[in-house]
């Protein structure tokens, strides 16, 4: 007969989601069993614990893991933090995060997202990621008991912050983490990582559950060669999300809630058949709080105007104050190779597919056009 003490240890670990630890007890501590009911228990338990373990650590988009210490018995456990923009199901327990911590998470994640989009898809700027639609939850792992809430209700401290940032980043970038990394670090608004409490207990539970302490991602302030250390959130993302560049390039149009982008196409001037360049912006309504960031996006991309030797037509920018902002930028103002014109939709000749623009700047001398010239163009395929 299996002792009550061993049954309790197995149940306690299983209820906390420490499935590998429970499995280890079953394999190592259960004596040579003779009762058919005990043999059945052991075989079933090991098989089910493996199913629960795989289910817990199957990486889903918008999820990551963080270690915690149960204060009552100093037992370690690993819990899941999920960032979801839909209403939770039964297995998701709302995770109450303070306003200050939420603000930090949003700042850190937004900075990282903008960093990667600027790096890998500079022609696009996502000025609204829809972060406010996301809430944080703790996913109750399959196989834990009805008292799982009791295990997580005493989670305190801010070491979950790194994990919450990772979950939200994963949700917004629509990519899951490559391995079941376990995150434990405090993060501040500048994305720097700081040390955590109860490091040894947390490290031990990761060794017990995942066998590889290197999967624990912490601040570099921990002097321990067995864990993976980083200084800031971007470094963490680089490590846990390989192929981020190709993912962003492939998925960029589907990311974020509101964005601005431009396309560059060749068009033909009606009067002289000269091939010229149309830079066409596409965007939703830009909120006032984003004006500065959107201007920075325009300034980052000013080189597209200077390269166009046969002139350039700008289209699609609203409201109108953005156009002078762009044209007054030194790179644009001093870099006009031929002319720069602004789209004028009011005077299009639709029946002839002629689109209108007004020249608003020309090169300093020797050009064909003058400021104020009306030009008509059409797309080359419409010719």
């Amino acid at each position: 007969m299996i002792s009550q003490d061993l049954l309790f240890q197995i149940k306690n670990n299983q209820d906390a989601g420490n499935f590998k630890s429970a499995h280890t007890i079953c394999e190592r501590k259960l004596p040579e069993l003779t009762d058919i009911s005990d043999i059945s228990f052991k075989e079933r338990k090991i098989k089910n614990l493996d199913i629960f373990y795989k289910d817990k650590y199957s990486n889903k988009i918008g999820e990551s893991f963080s270690p915690a210490v149960i204060n009552s018995n100093l037992m370690g456990m690993i819990f899941n933090i999920s960032a979801l923009d839909v209403l939770s199901q039964d297995s998701y327990i709302p995770f109450d995060i303070s306003k200050a911590n939420k603000k930090t998470i949003y700042t850190v994640v937004k900075n990282a997202l903008n960093h990667y989009v600027e790096k890998y898809a500079p022609h696009i700027f996502i000025y609204d990621w829809g972060m406010e639609n996301y809430n944080f939850y703790i996913r109750k792992p399959l196989g834990t008991g009805e008292d799982y809430n009791n295990y997580i209700k005493n989670i305190s401290g801010n070491s979950f912050l790194l994990s919450a940032c990772v979950s939200l980043f994963s949700a917004l970038i629509k990519k899951s983490i490559d391995k079941p990394h376990i995150f434990s670090a405090v993060v501040d608004n500048s994305s720097s990582l700081f040390a955590i409490d109860s490091f040894d207990i947390k490290k031990q539970i990761i060794i017990d559950e995942l066998k590889d302490a290197k999967l624990m991602v912490v601040s570099s302030k921990h002097d321990d060669k067995k864990v993976t250390k980083f200084n800031d959130f971007i470094e963490v993302c680089n490590h846990i999300l390989p192929n981020l560049e190709s993912h962003i390039k492939d998925q960029i149009l589907g990311l974020g809630k509101q964005k601005i982008s431009y396309s560059v196409t060749e068009v033909e001037l009606v009067d002289n058949n000269l091939k010229t360049t149309l830079v066409e912006y596409n965007h939703d309504a830009i909120p006032l709080r984003e004006i500065k960031e959107v201007n920075k996006y325009f300034f980052r991309n000013t080189d597209i105007f200077g390269k166009q030797i046969n002139g350039v037509i700008i289209s699609g920018i609203k409201p109108n104050y953005y156009l002078p902002t762009i044209c007054l930028h030194g790179n644009v103002k001093n870099g006009i190779v031929n002319f720069i014109a602004s789209r004028n939709t009011n005077d299009d000749i639709k029946e002839e597919n002629k689109k209108c623009a007004v020249v608003i700047g020309v090169k300093s001398s020797g050009g064909t056009y003058e400021v104020g010239d009306i030009i008509y163009y059409r797309s080359i395929k419409e010719k």
């Binding site: 299996i2 049954l7 149940k11 003779t34 009762d35 058919i36 009911s37 043999i39 059945s40 228990f41 075989e43 079933r44 338990k45 098989k47 089910n48 199913i51 629960f52 289910d55 839909v86 209403l87 039964d90 399959l142 196989g143 008991g145």
Partner: protein, 300 residues
């Protein structure tokens, strides 16, 4: 294929908030608004959907409009949230369709704030015009409440282990055949949930085993009656076979036959709440590998 017929022929494997079902008794569509009590008590909460667009004018500001084109309904319809109440899951008869996500959010929100909306309801003409619907709904609600109460009731049977266990080769009379209710199919998540439920069940079985009525306890076969979550179960542990056949309970010359049990992980169980309904002397018999076993026992 017509979406109504397609939905009717392909009901989802599990009940979820936002699903629309036809109820034969009401001859109306109900939308599921809460499934918290589904697992244990077999009861869900539902709200009534107006039977046609003519009912839309009765909607209060808190009622939920289903715009035309968002479901398989041919016209705009209204969900009357004050009709929210319990429904026995067996009374969700024909699957009609599912609401889009944004309406499911509204349903959950309405369920959450039901009391607030209820208190808002003053001089509503809605209840006057819908009174015949409410009368029919009352029967559906009461049925669900009875089911709920039955599911929560504690079994009053006490197991008596004083009877001598007898093994013989008698062949009992069989005049009844019971099959448990089954949902036609299950998805991957549902399979995992079943593993979780089964794991918990067998843990409890072992925990409660000291109080069980044991018929056989040998190296290769354990047979006992055990009470788990207030329900009496017939439990088998064995390495002798993959199937227990011809399980028959006899009480007052009436016999009930349970379905054959497949052994998984060297164990199998079947609930007896439909078989053992009162105190008295019972006879249990079953067959393992062509050998018949029979036992008399008493439920006090």
């Amino acid at each position: 294929m017509n979406p109504f017929i397609e939905n009717m022929l392909n009901p989802p494997p599990k009940f979820q908030v936002g699903q629309i079902w036809w109820n034969y008794e009401l001859k109306r569509e109900l939308v599921i608004s809460d499934t918290k009590l589904l697992k244990e008590e077999k009861v869900v909460r539902t709200m009534l959907i107006g039977s046609s667009s003519l009912y839309n004018d009765l909607a209060e500001e808190y009622d939920i409009k289903i715009p035309k084109g968002d479901t398989s309904f041919p016209s705009e319809r209204t969900i009357f949230i004050l009709t929210s109440g319990p429904t026995y899951f067996n009374q969700l008869n024909v699957f009609v369709g599912i609401l889009p996500q944004y309406l499911i959010k509204k349903i959950i929100n309405a369920e959450k704030n039901y009391l607030q909306f209820f208190n808002l309801q003053k001089n509503s003409q809605q209840s006057y015009y819908l009174r015949h619907e409410y009368e029919k709904l009352f029967n559906v609600r009461m049925n669900a409440i009875n089911i709920y109460e039955t599911a929560k009731r504690t079994l009053i049977f006490t197991l008596d282990q004083s009877k001598e266990i007898v093994k013989n080769r008698s062949t009992p009379m069989v005049n009844d055949h019971t099959e448990p209710y089954r949902i036609a199919a299950d998805d991957n998540d549902s399979k995992k949930e079943k593993i979780e439920v089964a794991d918990n069940f067998w843990d409890l079985e072992l925990e409660n085993s000291s109080k069980a009525l044991e018929f056989i306890n040998s190296e290769k076969l354990v047979v006992r009656l055990n009470q788990i979550n207030d329900v009496l179960y017939l439990i088998f542990y064995t390495s002798l076979t993959k199937e227990i056949k011809n399980i028959v309970f006899t009480f007052n010359d009436n016999s009930s036959r349970s379905r054959n049990l497949t052994i998984n992980n060297k164990a199998a169980a079947t609930p007896l709440n439909e078989i053992i309904k009162g105190t008295g002397e019972y006879k249990l018999s079953f067959e393992i590998e062509y050998e018949k076993y029979s036992f008399d026992f008493e439920i006090k």
